[in-house]
């Protein structure tokens, strides 16, 4: 095993911050390339006119998932050292629904609002300020919302563990689902274009 390099001590905390900055540049670059600095482009996903959000997101998920799977299988990457956020399913279901509503109301998600601000959109900057205000509000109200925040705690769980399916089989299932989704997305886009 040679990776993850930082966790195995190949470089220290200070260097990891430089890596963070460089990885961020790549992340921001491709988000902007995809058109995700534009709220109208992002929100079109929810009016079915342009499903680029789904296509970009699932291509990225499949690319990274296959990369991780093959590198772990080849004995290069120790997957057990890659950080997994523990599951609090009730908090995450409520949080996900709120995030979806916020996406349609605000036009961005946190990462894309940074991209939007960087490319000059005033609504992106206002979204960033709103997000900061909401974070502060949540922190101040934390004693009141702590119950919901910790609701549904079941520890670190992966889909293969919960479904009792071998890891590789689930990876293959996600790939099939994504390819089916891409074909369906293009079909919907054509239908919507014909309607307009």
């Amino acid at each position: 095993m040679s990776a993850p390099y930082y966790k195995l001590g190949a470089f220290g905390d200070e260097a990891s911050l430089i890596v963070a900055f460089l990885i961020g540049i790549g992340f921001g670059f491709f988000l902007e390339r995809a058109g995700f600095g534009s709220a109208k482009k992002l929100v079109s996903q929810f009016y079915l006119n342009d499903l680029a959000v789904f296509k970009v997101m699932f291509t990225a998920i499949v690319t990274a998932m296959l990369g991780v799977t093959y590198l772990a299988w080849a004995g290069f990457l120790d997957l057990s050292l890659v950080y997994l956020v523990p599951t609090y399913w009730i908090a995450q279901v409520v949080g996900g629904l709120l995030l979806g509503v916020g996406f349609v109301v605000g036009g961005y998600c946190p990462g894309t609002s940074i991209v939007s601000t960087a490319t000059g959109k005033l609504d992106g900057l206002v979204f960033v300020v709103g997000f900061a205000a909401g974070t502060l509000g949540f922190a101040l109200a934390f004693p009141l919302v702590k119950g919901l925040y910790t609701a549904g705690e079941i520890g670190t769980k992966t889909l293969p563990q919960v479904l009792g399916v071998p890891y590789g089989v689930l990876v293959f299932g996600v790939v099939l689902m994504a390819v089916g989704g891409f074909l369906g997305a293009s079909w919907i886009e054509k239908k919507m274009a014909a309607k307009e």
Partner: protein, 187 residues
């Protein structure tokens, strides 16, 4: 030097005359994002994120105003470690990079412009109010969800994390349910 400046101005003028470049093919952009995410897993052992940088920043600001309270606050306290500056955090540096990378891509494609993104049937003031409220709602959602579209959906999704997939399905579900109500703002 003068001729270099002249060339840059000339190119910028030519670019604005021909308009911004079209966006990248979504599958190519997705592969690019996926490889960046894979690099984060391999190099550092963690995924991408965005909302965590806001948490660190707010924790820092509150600690300036009320140091004792910030430390005792259960949500902010975890971002305030002894001996290190709260902004010296992985996600803060990554998000600064996101800003730089987006600016770079936008400049190269002639897409940096001072505008407000909105549909034709809503005023600028109305759109900005919605942006603020949407940002606030999303902050609560990201706090409860322990991440946003980057940290949970993208990063956790590719690691087949159970909570990330539940979160992602709910993001799309919530958005599709309310989209008809907000049609005026966008279409």
């Amino acid at each position: 030097m003068a001729s270099v400046t002249h060339d840059v101005v000339h190119e910028a003028a030519a670019e604005s005359a021909s308009g911004p470049q079209p966006y990248m093919n979504p599958y190519l952009a997705g592969m690019g994002l996926g490889l960046v995410l894979l690099a984060a897993f391999v190099l550092v052992g963690r995924g991408l994120g965005a909302s965590g940088a806001f948490n660190s920043t707010i924790a820092w600001l509150v600690s300036l105003a009320a140091p004792g309270y910030a430390r005792s606050n259960e949500f902010l306290g975890v971002y305030l470690e002894d001996g290190t500056h709260p902004l010296k955090a992985w996600l803060v540096f990554e998000v600064v990079g996101v800003f730089a990378g987006a600016l770079l891509s936008g400049l190269l494609a002639g897409r940096v412009a001072r505008t407000v993104e909105k549909g034709p049937r809503v005023s600028v003031g109305g759109r900005l109010a919605f942006a603020f409220v949407g940002g606030g709602l999303m902050a609560v959602g990201a706090a409860l969800g322990r991440g946003c579209t980057s940290g949970q959906a993208l990063s956790g999704g590719s690691l087949l994390n159970l909570g990330s997939w539940a979160f992602m399905l709910c993001v799309f579900g919530g958005a599709y349910v309310v989209a008809p109500l907000f049609r005026r703002q966008w279409r």
